[in-house]
Amino acid sequence: MKKLPKPDKLMIEPRPPRENWMETPTEFREGSWSYPAKAKNLETIGYPNPREWSITDEDWKLPENWQQIIHDGFKERLEKYRSLKIFMDTCVRCGACADKCHFFLGSGDPKNMPVLRAELLRSVYKNDFTTAGKILGRIAGARKLTLNVLKEWFYYFYQCSECRRCSVFCPYGIDTAEITMMARELMNLVGLNINWVQEPVANCYRFGNHIGMQPQAIKDMIDFMAEDIEDITGVHLEVPLNKKGAEILFVVPSGDYFADPGTYTFMGYIMLLNELGIDYTMSTYASEGGNFGLFSSHETMKRLNAKIYAEARRLGVKWILGGECGHMWRVIHQYMDTLNGPADFLEVPVSPITGTRFENASSTKMVHICEFTADLIYHNKLKLDPTRNDNVRVTFHDSCNPARAMGLLEEPRYILNNVCNHFHEMPENTIREQTFCCGGGAGLNNDENLEMRMRGGLPRANAVRHVHEKHGVNMLSCICAIDRVTLPPLMEYWVPEVDVCGIHELLGNALVMQGENERRVNLRGEPNSGEEENDHEG
């Protein structure tokens, strides 16, 4: 953090350079790029051109015919994805997207305007695949794929977090996430990838989760959290692992059982499931809901996602419940059934407590825990004491993917309104479908990229600061594991008074459990409101 410029230095009014963007050389600014993928991580998954290399090297050790490889890969994808073709052809450069990107707002770098980010790819598309581009060249906005262009791709397509905010504003629905995904696929073909994407991918492939946690370690972590819950509430609970014949398979992002503050959210989940006596199991094999394949390639996404249905089939469950995670839910909602379905061996999810049939998940057979919990609260199945969360004044950060690739907007808000007494929304241009990224999505939440993360997170942090000053908000809630890792340093940098939590952490605090002790502390072990004064008196 010390190396970072002061917050007020980070905020710059964007002034594009005088020369044409095609001529501006890419400057690899320290703090704004991610380390390349280690060879061993590419080997695990069988990606081409594994090697040790460095971004700052002149020679990136590309295969000799890299231009041909990318050209062929581009052609193949144009034939396979209508999205790519349409998005390459229809942009009129109206500029409506320009100031919608958090990375542009935070960095002022004009190539972070979604239109120009796409143009980096589009210019090569025009050169290689359009008549006008072939004849008119630069005049038609076409340019050859040179090494400098490729390096520019690497820099800027790893400065896009695939959040899709620009696509909400685009009059043609051009989705930069789709363009970035394609560009990253093309770069994968010649061995240009970042370690923060490929290591989780390799780990997830072999160990079942991003952090490479082995089965016994997962059990230890979960047991440890169960003990914490017992210390705080007096209620003993156990989390079934790899249990055959359970009704529900519960899949969470591994961040939730690995690191604070995700662990508190995890405690909330298992308290809820235990309190209701739900017959569920978790899996050490399918121990990851997240899927960094989304940030790497469609094929990898499929290879990693396959575990969830495979495990559901092996364990013989009826349906699947998923934890709070952003990109995980884009994969589950928009891709899983297509990639690895049909899930005809599962049943349409029915809540064992309320009897609600989740018709919206009738094909994929996987329900978001916020949908599940909102339904429970609506049917009065939970005893909640929201005053236990009175020490926090909460705001809610819509995670990009649940907002713009699902429309999961009201469910978390309904839960929040029932588990805490002080909930304040951020300004309307910064929430719901217009929500801003945390700055670390799509594999960019690594430390070497910290400055760019702080810049990218600026619009979000700015909105948090607004409600902090206006309503005294001190807790930023979210439903995404990457958020729970990325937002705390962002808050520390921009709005240090604000902490970060998941929705189910607040639910766990408010949940009145059978046979519980009086709660003196919340799940973080901090005194509950009112307790502090008592302590002083005592």
């Binding site: 594009p16 942009c91 008549t131 038609a140 575990k307 919206n360 619009p459």
Partner: protein, 333 residues
């Protein structure tokens, strides 16, 4: 970037000069018959080719961008227009997008206050002028049916008389002409004046606007200043459309500049960004229903992939699982 503007100005000037010179050499057949037919064919064939090439590419995944509440629990109000789940919603969303530029209407401008606060203020100028531009273009096109159709359809007559409601000058100055020129000027100046937009603008962006402006100006000039022989124009147009073209040397060179630029626009259309008109209909983030978990979407080119099976996983960690008390499929030796 100034260079981009200059290049497109040169292009358009050259395009005006070509028919001028051509007609002065008496090449009426070339500019009145040959080029219009050629351009018309390119337009038709080009659009068909482009749309087919788009349509031929499959939609492997259902990837709508959702702009409102999903349909989930029955007591939560779903937003079927911004996050459609049925045909009705899709049609509604597409109509809003195509007829009213819904997404552009959302536009806001980010600004920075002195206390380093970012503000987002609604910015509808682009939407207003964009919408006005497209609708005046449509009205002008409809009005031009006057020249091609005999008898003139009632709707065309109605549009024309409404459009010329303020007929203070003779011949009438049409509202749509004024609006169109006004919008083209706005859209052009925007690309010249705003630094960000100037930075992203390519030659083709300026060229398209200048070409449209040239067409509009030459049209107004021939009608209101040079007063070309409209009766002959109509005969030429009807002749072209009934495939019995005639030569009309009396019409005047402004008309041929107008016609030539229209032909260039038509021939340029299928190969340019102007195809966004057709592209919006096929945009997968807009025209797909968010029924992702309700109905299975099939990827036509799906193929099997290598995965890491549970058996391989258990083989690697059997001992550790056993000692941690995690159930196994095969007990260890």
């Amino acid at each position: 970037m100034i260079r981009n503007i200059l290049i497109s100005v040169c292009f358009v000037l050259a395009l005006c000069a070509i028919p001028w010179i051509g007609v002065s050499f008496g090449m009426y057949a070339v500019f009145g018959i040959l080029i219009p037919y050629l351009a018309g064919s390119i337009l038709l064939a080009g659009i068909i080719y482009r749309v087919i090439s788009w349509a031929k590419a499959p939609v492997p995944f259902r990837i709508p961008t959702t702009g409102g509440q999903q349909k989930s629990l029955p007591w939560i109000k779903a937003n079927n227009l911004e996050n459609p789940t049925n045909t009705f919603g899709i049609i509604g969303r597409m109509l809003l997008e195509i007829l009213l530029f819904r997404s552009l209407f959302r536009n806001s401008r980010a600004g920075l206050l002195d206390d380093k606060r970012i503000t987002y203020t609604g910015s509808r100028w682009l939407w207003v002028f964009g919408l006005m531009f497209h609708y005046s273009f449509l009205i002008i096109l409809l009005r031009h049916l006057h020249f091609f159709l005999q008898p003139i359809p009632v709707i065309v007559k109605l549009v024309t008389s409404l459009d010329g409601v303020f007929d203070i000058l003779l011949p009438t100055i049409y509202l749509s002409d004024i609006a169109f020129l006004f919008c083209v000027t706005f859209l052009f100046l925007r690309r010249v004046v705003l630094p960000k937009i100037r930075y992203i603008s390519l030659v083709s962006d300026y060229f398209a606007l200048l070409l449209l402006a040239t067409i509009a100006i030459s049209g107004i000039l021939m009608r209101n200043v040079f007063k070309v022989d409209l009766y002959s124009v109509k005969q030429l147009a009807v002749g072209l459309f009934s495939f019995s073209p005639g030569l009309y040397e009396t019409i005047g060179v402004v008309f041929y500049i107008h016609l030539f630029c229209v032909c260039i626009l038509a021939a340029y259309f299928p190969f340019s960004k102007l195809m966004h008109m057709a592209g919006i209909f096929l945009s997968p983030t807009r025209n797909l229903a968010n029924t992702n978990r309700m109905k299975r979407h099939v990827n036509p080119w799906d193929y099997p992939v290598q995965t890491h099976s549970y058996e391989e996983y258990e083989d690697e960690f059997r001992d550790k699982m056993l000692s941690a008390g995690i159930p196994l499929d095969k007990e260890g030796e």
